[in-house]
Amino acid sequence: MRSTVKRVEIEARKQLRAIVRAYFLSLDEAARDPARRVAWCTSVGPCEILRAFGFEVYFPENHGALLGARKVSHQYIPRAVAAGYCAESCSYMTSDIGSAIAGYSPLTDAFGIAGPPRPDLLTYNTNQCREVQEWWSFFGKRYDVDVLGITPPPHLGTVAPHHIAFVRMELEKLVATIEKRFGLQLDYDRLGEVVALSSRASRLWCQVLDTCRSHPSPFTFFDGLVHMSPVILMRGTQTAVDYYELLLEEMNSRVAQGVAAVANERFRIYWEGMPVWPRMRDLSDHFFDLGAAVLASTYCNSWAFDEFSGGDPLTWMAKTSTEIFINRDEAYKQRFLRTMFHRFDIDGAVFHNARTCPNNTNSRFGMAQRLRDECNIPILVIDGDLSDVRFFSSAQTMTNIEAFIEQLEERIR
């Protein structure tokens, strides 16, 4: 049944809209200004180096998520499939490539700009998946620009000094290639400043997420999907730092006043895996109506990096981008999730089996069952996709979620 209780809107969202708009307008201007340069970068890629060189940085995965959230991915994926990309490969990639082939961008409706900015350079880091390499290659050919990548060793249990040294070496090589290609000289002091800003924004974001440990939680995973934009798009800028200071202040105030993101919070849920972008509003409403706060996630924590306390910025970049959850082995991931369940006092977890994103799906090798037994909490696995709505059955998923809540209710009888 639909809840009659209204959500308490997050005030900072007005500021968020303004800075995201300014970010895209600036990118658009930069792409049309011969004196400015634009680089495309993966979401946990070497953006600090690009910013220190003076590039404006654009993130194609954000475009993939926008296509999904606007519920249009499935219209463009067939264009990429026709061009030879498998329909079951990353739907961020296929929808983004398909929309480029079709000449459509949601940025036009949202910000009145033609679409993604024309790049001068493409950079990626395979710490999240190998697909980005192929995705970037498509655009490298399309725009006839260099595609430069960082390839850390994957599936790491322990991140050893030699792993970090290897990635640092790759970053150095990236710097040298950019310097040669564009006739630039990297200012390492400037890189240190950018990394400090990146780290500062990341720590503030982490503190925002940590406010969800409160009972009731002031913020949800679904809120996080909206408010994480600056830590991705504006990482390494003062704008991101300022925004998270504002958001953290609001969340701390909510905690002090006992303001709940989900009125009458009955259950505390963890979300593991990618969002289902085309159905996030429906899912958010459904959990809200059931009195279940989905308040913590692995996904929103993807940009929660360590503090930068001075020293070598390249080493910090190598370490943080290699240590991320998605680049780790099963045992590490299981330990991480167990810690998170405990930290956020979780009643149950939802694992999203994203059909086109095996790398960011952790229900494929028995982890959900192992954690269920280990932590003695119900775990629901839902089938879907991050962007391609054709892999998602709304009626089946909503029933699954309701049954999951009924299961939680039975446990407290």
Binding site: N264, T399, A403
Partner: protein, 272 residues
């Protein structure tokens, strides 16, 4: 007459089932109506049928719980509960010793595991695909130009261990045509279809654990399905008295629940 009846309505994708229960949990009568285009009409038809059989009116209903995909469209219901909880509740009443319940519906297949207290410990549903559901069988039967009961009767004549291997309904249809072309006996092909579903269900069973109860329209009408499940799961399948009404029965039993679940959950939240 006082308000002495409890009603469970299961608004499924193919049929709407209704069970009328007495306060002592005894089933008075059952009904079924095709869900068709209008779930509201099918709910009304199924409800009126049981009331007519019991010579009762809506005024005699003490409480009603609806379940199934169309549960939210049953305006008479005091509460909506998912079919997973209802099937678990219904099967538990019939077979308290059973820990696994399989429900093969038109639109989906569910495997529910109960804990020692009879609570739903875990459950799985088929992925977004017709494979392993009643729709799979109906679709292939239609392709063969036979009613499902004839496919079932044919399958019961089979003595081979043929399996249709394809997961996808469309590919399974192609595989059936290939086997016809190869000259395989029709009864073996028919049995292979039921084994295909049983094989999908086997994947959804987390562990073998004694007897299993099966519910839903497919097992109600197709003995070959029960045979295929027993072969695949290597266990006895317990078929309740009214397999297709198990969800509605569970809903009617839940209608008898007097404890307010919502209030209890709020208490849980306030204790934290």
């Amino acid at each position: 007459m006082s308000k002495s009846f409890y009603v469970g309505i299961d608004v499924g994708s193919s049929a709407t089932k209704c069970v009328l229960l007495r306060a002592d949990s005894r089933i008075i009568c059952c009904s079924m109506a095709p869900s068709g285009f209008s779930y509201k009409d099918s709910v009304a038809a199924a409800l009126e049928s049981v009331l007519c059989q019991a010579d009762a009116t809506r005024e005699d209903i003490a409480a009603c719980v609806s379940t199934g995909y169309g549960r939210k469209l049953a305006s008479i219901a005091d509460r909506q509960v998912t079919e997973l909880s209802c099937h678990a509740r219904g099967a538990r009443e019939w077979y308290p010793q059973v820990r696994h319940i399989i429900d093969i519906g038109g639109q989906d297949t569910k495997v529910i595991r109960l804990n020692d207290h009879g609570q739903m410990a875990d459950y799985r549903m088929n992925a977004k695909c017709a494979a392993g559901t009643g729709t799979f069988l109906e679709s292939i039967a239609a392709k063969l130009g036979l009613p499902l009961c004839k496919v079932d009767a044919l399958a019961m004549l089979s003595s081979s261990d043929t399996v249709v291997n394809s997961y996808c309904t469309v590919f399974a249809g192609t595989e059936v045509i290939e086997r016809i072309r190869e000259g395989q006996p029709q009864e073996d092909i028919a049995m292979g279809l039921f084994r295909s579903i049983a094989s999908r269900i086997r994947e959804m069973m987390p562990a073998r654990s004694g007897e299993v109860s099966a519910t839903g329209g497919v097992v109600a009408h197709c003995p070959a399905m029960v045979r295929a499940l027993e072969e695949a799961l290597e266990t006895t399948i317990l078929l309740p008295p009214k397999p297709q009404h198990a969800g509605a029965y569970g809903a009617a039993l839940l209608a008898q629940t007097t404890i307010d679940v919502g209030r209890r959950a709020e208490t849980h939240a306030s204790r934290r």
